[in-house]
């Protein structure tokens, strides 16, 4: 491609990106239709593809039903071998196009959560680097030694061709993050996805950042809003050390346990919905709202289970489970500073329902 042509392409991408970003920044203003948002996401994805050269474009594209679909993990690379376009390997303009795509595909809070998780991994990288031992230097795949942490160690992949009509997937992830967004025309799902955090609290530009702080605080508020009888139903009498339905455990749901939401008062039910929104609302609002409506419809058959202490600041596991929803929150090895969570829809993981022919 000639240089002039490339500059024109990048300029076009930038204009598209700015338009898309401004659309993304206007959530709070009148809601866009799902079809509008799909079109914006597709435009932003095409913006990424246009910004890439041939070799990088080849890295980001996969067939719709390739094994890449389930190739995600909470683990850092290269412990877990990721495929796709690595942020460390792109130019600043290309990275800008990728981040613009995420800002359009996700809600404002969802995008912030992703950025906070990535920044947290940067904290891990700098802390581990200063700690020596040859770990966490962000070397990435092919490097020797320990895991590669940091903001550059995240990967983008498209499964299928970005389209406003045909199904395709946007996959973005790295250590402690897996976003699996399946789109099919005006419908979309972000199940399964894995937001996690380590450290769970860090300082950035003079403020404290807690990537999963709202999830933690809302859950503790809910468990403490239950009366003794309700807590007796919600609190499991055994320890839960990790996610039950984490990465690699697709396809089946476990038997629900805990207190049924039909046994909660209206305010408690609302608190449960607010808690679930922390995961269901990561996706763009246009898709989050119908998803929340579905979750609300299923509220009578929704269960809330808790394992561990009920004082905020303690390490406690919880799970919300409904016919179309599973959320788990699992502190690792008893640490409040290392959290794994998972978000699933047993009926629509990877868009099984919306892509069914």
């Amino acid at each position: 491609m000639h240089a002039r042509h490339r500059i024109a392409s990048i300029a076009a991408v930038s204009v598209l990106a700015i338009l898309a970003a401004s659309a993304g920044a206007q959530r709070g203003a009148p809601a866009h239709s799902q079809a509008d948002v799909t079109a914006r996401i597709v435009a932003a994805a095409q913006g990424v593809l246009t910004a890439l050269d041939d070799s990088r474009r080849a890295k980001v594209q996969f067939p719709f039903d390739s094994p890449q679909k389930t190739n995600w993990s909470n683990l850092p690379s290269p412990m877990f071998q990721r495929n796709g376009l690595r942020l460390a390997d792109v130019t600043a303009a290309q990275r800008g196009a990728v981040m613009t795509l995420l800002s359009v595909a996700l809600s404002r809070d969802g995008y912030r959560k992703v950025i906070d998780i990535m920044r947290g991994d940067e904290v891990l990288r700098t802390t581990q680097s200063s700690g020596g031992a040859g770990r966490g230097r962000g070397r990435g795949p092919g490097g020797t030694g320990g895991p590669a942490f940091g903001e550059n160690e995240y990967y983008l992949a498209f499964l299928g061709t970005p389209s406003t009509t045909a199904p395709w997937r946007l996959q973005f992830g790295g250590h402690h993050l897996a976003i699996n967004l399946t789109l099919a025309g005006s419908q979309a799902t972000m199940a399964p996805s894995l937001p996690a955090a380590q450290p769970a609290s860090y300082a950035f530009e003079g403020r404290t950042v807690r990537p999963l702080g709202s999830e933690n605080d809302k859950a503790f508020a809910l468990i403490n809003a239950l009366d003794a009888g309700q807590r007796g139903q919600a609190i499991l009498n055994y320890r839960v050390a990790d996610l039950v339905l984490g990465p690699g455990r697709d396809g089946r749901a476990i038997e629900p346990e805990g207190i049924r939401a039909s046994a909660l008062a209206a305010a408690q039910q609302q608190a449960l919905l607010d808690l679930v929104r922390e995961w269901a609302g990561i996706i763009n609002d246009a898709f989050a709202e119908p998803r929340m409506a579905e979750i609300k419809t299923n509220l009578p058959n929704t269960y809330f289970a808790w394992s561990g202490p009920t004082t905020n600041g303690s390490a406690a596991y919880f799970r919300v489970q409904a016919p179309t929803l599973i959320v788990e929150y699992a502190p690792q090895q008893g640490s409040v500073d290392h959290i794994h969570t998972i978000y699933r829809d047993p009926t629509n993981d990877y868009g099984a329902k919306i892509t069914a022919k």
Binding site: G146, P147, A203, F204, Y238, R239, D337
Partner: protein
Amino acid sequence: MLLSAGRPSAHRVDEYLQAARLDIYPDRVEIVLDLTPGVAVAREVVQALDRDLNGAIADNEARAFAEDVLRAIAVDVDGVRVRVALVESMSPTIDTLLRGDGAVRIRAAAPIPPLAEGLHHLRFRNEYRGDAGVYLANALMPATDRVVVAAQHRNVDQRDLVVDYNLRGTPATRVRRGLPVGVACGLVLALQVWWRRRPRERA
């Protein structure tokens, strides 16, 4: 500027996570067991897997390891022990295990003898590596409507799980059971129709 508020500890260290999922059918229980040794115990696990010490885990070594694990697992149905047989064992590479995040996956199954319809109790006990083990044990939502899980009871560390479940009849037996009631209802209905339509004597 980025500053951490906590200690960065990357992954599982001295724990040996053992996550079991039980899939109950009328005639069998299928078990998936994921074993994830932390870095501090991974070398022992690798030694148990790589028996010929050639630096790779062969299929027969993975099977032999899995058989050892299954010897520490017991399944009872209504108090009667059933035999747990290995179906498949899959191991990651030694390097992955030594990094502390590889999981050995064992698939096993145990036949359940013919049972009457009604409430039954399946007990799963995992005594493997109790010195370092951290356990998860859960019943999956059954794939058949003939099995309905009523409750799960665990000890505090989840080494011991009892699943109370109801076994329902096959569609054929449900039809057969409903047949007398259906016939009786039909007869009552026919009698009513006949009674209303019978020829009445004129006054």
